[in-house]
């Protein structure tokens, strides 16, 4: 029985991989977009002096862009549950003799794998552009952060997919929730150390889950410009991840086909 569940997880992971490899537009889109951010913003603002930032801009922005790539890619996975719902494929999965938990694990692993892969590609490009990794330990920690970001965002996507019946709301959620969170995460410019910003914005940024992810990734990868110690970030991100993933699983569990 245990073996059966493992095989189900494997084949759901495999399905995601196949779909990912086959949808070329998605691969290109999700790589090119962060690349533009990195190349255009990074090079354009290369010599700019941002308040609260030390060192070059490219090493500052790189972790933020890696986080963004993972975020959007794994959101896509969560949302794709909605596609399965629309196309009826979800029923085929729900009627199978595997537990709902297995289904969620399979889906999440598939989504997280593609997301971390994309993050890796952006990371490689960043290293080519001159971002130096601080230490081996930091590099490993960075990957732990990347995986956690992926799991959290898949969880968030699952919540949305369980609550929404169509795609109309999807764009609104991106512009209304995701973009503000992203801009307030200090991915593109420092916030907590920026004295020009009003206190309320700084306070808000501390209430932003994305902030801890970006900050942790930045701290572990480049060991520069991070506000909190990476391990403090890690604890907070683990808590956020468990909450988000737990809530996503709970809501998905209640989904009736």
């Amino acid at each position: 029985m245990q073996h059966g569940e493992l095989q189900a997880i494997y084949v759901m992971w495999l399905r995601q991989m196949k779909r990912y490899v086959r949808s070329r537009s998605r691969i290109i889109g999700t790589i090119v977009q962060p690349l533009f951010f990195l190349a255009i913003l990074g090079l354009g603002l290369r010599n700019a002096i941002l308040p609260g930032m030390t060192g070059d801009y490219i090493p500052f922005i790189a972790p933020g862009i890696v986080a963004m790539a993972i975020l959007f890619s794994s959101m896509h996975t969560g949302i794709s549950v909605l596609w399965d719902k629309k196309f009826g494929f979800l029923q085929e999965i729900l009627v199978a003799p595997v537990s709902r938990f297995t289904i969620i694990i399979g889906r999440t692993l598939g989504g997280a794998t593609t997301a971390v892969l994309q993050g890796t590609i952006v990371l490689i490009i960043a290293i080519f552009m001159g971002v130096s990794v601080s230490s081996i330990g930091g590099f490993i920690l960075a990957y732990i952060f990347m995986i956690l970001i992926a799991l959290t965002s898949v969880g968030f996507g699952l919540i949305m997919a369980s609550k929404m019946d169509d795609f109309e709301g999807f764009q609104i959620i991106i512009t209304l929730i995701l973009m503000p969170l992203f801009f307030l995460s200090s991915a593109l410019f420092p916030i907590a150390t920026n004295t020009n910003l009003p206190d309320i914005v700084i306070m808000l940024s501390f209430a932003n889950p994305l902030f801890y992810m970006v900050d942790g990734l930045r701290g572990s990868l480049t060991n520069m410009n991070n506000v909190l110690h990476p391990l403090v970030d890690l604890i907070i991100v683990v808590i956020i991840c468990l909450t988000m993933f737990g809530l996503g699983s709970y809501l998905f569990n209640k989904t009736e086909a």
Binding site: V11, M12, K18, Q91, E92, E256
Partner: protein, 329 residues
Amino acid sequence: MDIIKTDGLTKKFNSLTAVDNISFSVKEGEIFGFLGPNGAGKTTTIKMLTTLLNPTDGSAEIAGFNIIKQKNEVRKKVGVVFQDPALDWNLTGRENLDFHARVYALDRENRKKRIEEVIKLVDLNEKMNIFVKNYSGGMKRRLEIARGLMHYPTVLFLDEPTLGLDAQTRRAIWDYIKKMNKEEGTTIFLTTHYMDEADYLCDRVGIIDHGKILIIDTTTNLKNSIGNDVITLSCSDMDKLLGRLGKEPWIKNTKKHDNFITIGVEKGEEKIPEIIFFAQNLGIKIKSISIRKPTLDDVFLSFTGRTIRNQEPEHPWKQMARQRERRGG
């Protein structure tokens, strides 16, 4: 042995009672059909029997397993072909089958062997390595039926198996269904709103309307119950004629509709002159008269007082194709 056994199965959606206290059983190896118009509660029944929906009240057993308490056991025993297509369009036919086989925990040898068996059953051998998005509607249906059979289900549920298919493809699908029932001994539970489909395929038919089963019997018995022949007649004063005919012992049943009446009789060809004779005596003008063998349509009519609504729903694939076009994807 009863493969499906329901006891007072009920499903309510807020104030709407979709399935209303239905009890029936389906024997092993049988092809059993639910016949009813759209919205009669057919799909809801299938969803409850396949554990996708929890009943509000009552219970059911599939191959001896309770659909509420032993969900996982039930899921192993049933195969389902949903009304809405449930294939992954970005995988090939073989990959779709392989996905199914693995989710149902078939081992490697069994997977290979079984895939070959089921695709042979539905004649899809050559199309297995192309993407499902390039399949025609009939091919998708066949692939779904093949997939439903992959894990040797005791009972296969088919929800409107030929909805939206052309006449030729429908015929082919019917033959596949008969074939798998015979060759694999699979018990089949299907729903349809096509009379000819129920007539051609089913051993027994349950007529369902507004969530209630009106009658369950063999197709032959159902048709016999309304006479060997059906005379359809339209005339000037229908009530008067019906009143007169009602006194005749050879009339099995009569039914008045909006602008015609139907009369069930034996040896219809000999009764037509008599009916015309009565009408003339009463001074009633007959506009048209015809005779035919009864169909399940007549059965449905006589039990529900109306023909199955003719509003053929648009098939979901077409709807989806349109959406895809609109998105430009």
